[in-house]
Symmetry: C2
């Protein structure tokens, strides 16, 4: 793998889809797959699949296909999800609770190792296996855990301040559920999950579909 190549974000996003797919087929007892199988089962074009993998070296054998277990292990290593890593969660509401209980995170090594909130009603309470900690100790908590990834499930008004604290504590990646645009140093990666945006895109596409349907009638 050429360490200097910048991998396109859509390729990185598809890698986890491939990983999920490989786990599914392995669970079905399949040992080898072809890129055509990937296209049929995930909807990702076979050529795209091969191109995505090509960023990371040689995969599979022509005419033979891909060994399911080996490909799984290599993709897991590329994404660095082959090992456990601590993640800190700020915001112990329903969404935070949902994430802690979300299947597949722990299986892929993402261990939510610390939960913080600013509500006196929540601080000291248990959430899953953890005790909810006071957000005023967030920075020390992150440093202690050595967490490089943080999850924000707080109101938009609080997101920037908490993100700043995470960065001070050497967090390098933030999964942001707050409907706010975070302004952070260039070396910090932010992934925004914005529910309204998802629904708004659906709303547009649905109304377009109905418009076109009426026309064709």
């Amino acid at each position: 793998m050429n360490e200097n190549i910048k991998v396109p974000m859509p390729t990185l996003e598809r890698l986890s889809t491939y990983l999920r797919y490989l786990q599914d087929v392995q669970a079905r007892g399949v040992h080898t797959i072809l890129s055509a199988d990937v296209e049929r089962d995930t909807g990702v074009n076979a050529a795209q699949f091969r191109k995505d993998l090509s960023f990371f070296g040689e995969f599979g054998k022509p005419g033979v296909g891909y060994n399911v277990l080996e490909l799984q292990q290599r993709i897991a290593r590329i994404l660095q999800v082959h090992r456990e890593q601590p993640v800190v969660l700020v915001g112990a509401g329903n969404l935070g609770t949902a994430l802690i209980g979300y299947p597949g995170l722990r299986r892929h090594g993402f261990v939510i190792a610390g939960v913080f909130d600013n509500s006196p009603k929540k601080i000291g309470q248990r959430l899953g296996e953890m005790e909810i900690q006071d957000i005023q100790y967030l920075k020390e908590g992150i440093v202690k855990l050595g967490a490089k990834i943080g999850i924000l499930t707080v109101p938009a008004s609080e997101a920037q301040t908490i993100a700043n604290t995470m960065v001070e504590a050497d967090v390098k990646g933030i999964l942001n559920f707050a409907p706010a645009t975070l302004r952070l140093p260039a070396d910090i990666t932010v992934r925004d999950v914005y529910f309204f945006q998802e629904l708004a895109v659906l709303s547009y596409c649905v109304s377009r579909a109905e418009l076109l349907a009426e026309r064709s009638e």
Copy 2:
């Protein structure tokens, strides 16, 4: 607006970011903005902002800028979030509960009008203002509500079957939180929110950043 132009998905995604931004500046009492303001405050390049809007007609006045309220109303209309629309939710767990309480959905007209689950423990219980209904009545329920958008917060193993039922009930857009690839007719729009994928991308970017940091030392 040319009804036949296919608008790129990233443009559609940015529209809701612009809408959020416009609401923020309006709340601050700002009446007019320039594309440079958008770039400074949202991080979206000013030229990109103008290009995104250009898909939908003429916006703003050269040298004067954009009227905040008017632009808000026009974007809301483009996305069809200027009116109320019923949304059906399947899966009354923590994530479903979080979505029902998620600020901004109702404000943008997305009314979660029906909640369904298959758990006898949950059916009949209240969730927010609603009673959780038995999933066996999902199809009739959707038809009755006239919902064109559905939200799936169920285990991966159940997602495809429930999505099929939604489509039978004339749902045209699905927000899918289940870690499963849905196979649906081409006229159905699906938006996947896959938490593991988000964390995996962060994991990759964080490990890259650390690698490059070590090198530069």
